[in-house]
Amino acid sequence: MIEVKDIHKSFGENNVLNGISADFKPGVTTLIIGGSGSGKTTLMKNMVGLHEPNNGKVLYDGRDFTNMDTNERIEIRKEIGMLFQGSALFDSMNVEKNIRFPLDMFTSQSKAEKLERVNFVLERVNLAGKNKLYPAELSGGMMKRVGIARAIAMRPKYLFCDEPNSGLDPKSAIMIDELVQEITAEYDITTVVVTHDMNSVMSIGEHIIFLHQGKKWWEGSYKEITKTDNKELNEFVFATQLMETLLKK
């Protein structure tokens, strides 16, 4: 479980996060949604330590991540997997080496054991046999799936996904959403997804946190999101004509 307590973050004069608190439970996919500039990516970067909060705490199963030294943080980070918006695969390595990289760095497994794990996670993301392809040879959806495979290679307890289906066609986007949700439930991972995609919200939004002006504005599930009278949330949810028509039906 991840607990975020009263996180504040500003860049110069610009206050991006204004005291956000939230709990993220294992086995549940939590979606952080909000408009551009609402602070969702900043919140995630504060949670994983890519940014340091000005105030507040992030607890990983009770362990205070914000006040840890570098070595203690490294131990927590070995339990974290992350899928980046642009996949962030290493260009110089093929698919197999990308996925094997954290195993090479942190485990003493034999080559055969590592290869077995690589093949297992590749099969899990429906990319069996693509070991020798380089990132430049992959489509956007395949890159995201390799990113997921790399993120779960070390059997993480916590999975973070930053805009996992941005830039993908609807079919690939649904595939990525379903994959994230399946993996979360299957391995009892605490998963946090930052998105502004309403399709994701309606298909995998078991737990949704809506941010507005750097604050937690609303919290609930996809079943509740269309029934709320929260003005800002409604403006976000019904921003497109298609969504308005579909949801009001």
């Binding site: 890519l50 980070r77 918006q85 962030a88 954290p102 760095m105 942190f106 973070f160």
Partner: protein, 244 residues
């Protein structure tokens, strides 16, 4: 502003020397960088060195018009100016352009495509993994390139001198072997090691703190070359003052 960047640079260097996660992986990376920096730059360094030696000989001969000065001195001047200044400094300036811009753009691209964030999230010491192999590769290979440059420069000087008739082969070799001070080679190696450190770390710093997109990567690469060249020339003067 300068102190802010210098402080950040020192902190980055400190992070570079943190204990590696797995030495075997770093070892492979170091060998890869040695090949990239060393063998990858051998061609351009060879061409430049031969012509630097040739020009030094021809121009020295042009200036020695007095009959009172023996022509063999041309060999001595070519040797000393090559060892002390031309090979280590000119080669390092060229390498700042070739190797430095490559390091800055490589690390800068990794920064803007979130690959460095990915390393950090995995719990890997990103400065160590990305910069240490380049630093060691440079510090090992650039002095070797300078040794090759010295040899080729003198050879170029000899060939140009003899071919143009400015100096005979015997006179050039006499000058080359007379009054040689081995300490000049030590100075050249000290310069090469320090210049290698400057090229790799300044360029890595510029790349590591790139922010934005493709334009920023280009700007970082340019800054890396400019700052490395200035730092090389300043430290060249300081080394000369301290050691000679």
């Amino acid at each position: 502003m300068i102190f802010y960047h210098f402080g950040k640079y020192i902190l980055l260097i400190k992070a570079v020397f943190r204990r590696p996660e797995k030495f075997s992986i770093y070892k492979n990376e170091i060998f890869r960088e040695m090949v990239d920096i060393g063998l990858g730059s051998l061609g351009i360094i060879s061409i430049i060195s031969v012509f630097i030696g040739a020009v030094t000989t021809v121009q020295t001969a042009f200036q020695l018009t007095s009959d009172l000065i023996p022509k063999s001195i041309i060999g001595g001047i070519t040797r000393d100016s090559t060892i002390l200044e031309l090979s280590p400094t000119i080669c390092s300036l060229v390498l700042a352009g070739k190797v430095g811009s490559s390091i800055a753009s490589q690390i800068g691209t990794m920064r803007v495509t979130e690959q460095i964030d990915a390393l950090e999230i995995m719990g890997i010491n990103a400065p160590g993994y990305l910069i240490l192999p380049k630093l060691l590769g440079g510090v090992i290979m650039i002095p070797m390139l300078v040794i090759v440059a010295i040899a080729l420069s003198i050879t170029g000087g000899y060939l140009a001198g003899v071919a143009s008739g400015a100096v005979s082969a015997a006179e050039f070799i006499l000058g080359l072997t007379t009054g040689f001070v081995p300490f000049t080679l030590v100075v050249a190696m000290v310069k090469a090691v320090i210049f290698a450190f400057i090229i790799t770390t300044v360029s890595a710093y510029q790349g590591y703190y790139t922010s934005g997109g493709a334009i920023s990567v280009g700007q970082s690469s340019t800054k890396a070359v400019v700052i490395s060249c200035i730092a090389i020339l300043i430290s060249d003067y300081i080394i000369a003052q301290l050691l000679l």
